[in-house]
Symmetry: C2
């Protein structure tokens, strides 16, 4: 498992993403990176907290980073904040 | 400045909080903690990113932590995610 598994959080219900995280850990993943941009950042934190406290007691937050990404849209460039939350056992 | 300055991010416009962060650094603060709960978490990340990239180039993200807080409401206890972003020079 050299590669990290990634769960990209968007606008679907919270538990969809929690299920993805729990499933990947149960399939043997050592680390999972939860990523989100813009308003989905709040949901990404919920995903990490619910996965950890309710389903995966042996998993901890190993690191969190934030950044700014530049998106190209029809009306030019726009900045959006992003978060990466690394969960691991 | 033994004590950390805190900016608690809620539902006001982004730049209100950015201004608070920039002002406190310009008044001599070494570290500022940006805190938020629930949906305001996305805005807290925006506050950190905009303050840092646009106004305070010498300031870096020193640490980020997430947690779950229990709120007592009329309808019983409810869980809400929270974030703390520590900015410092």
């Amino acid at each position: 498992m050299g590669q990290e598994d990634v769960v990209f959080v968007g606008n679907k219900p919270l538990m969809n993403y929690v299920l993805a995280v729990v499933t990947q850990f149960n399939n043997g993943a050592k680390d999972i990176k939860i990523m989100a941009r813009g308003r989905a950042i709040s949901r990404a934190v919920d995903v990490a907290e619910v996965s950890r406290s309710r389903f995966l007691q042996d998993v901890t937050v190993k690191g969190i980073s934030i950044s700014t990404e530049v998106l190209n849209t029809d009306r030019g460039e726009t900045n959006v904040s992003a978060i990466e939350i690394l969960l691991g056992r």
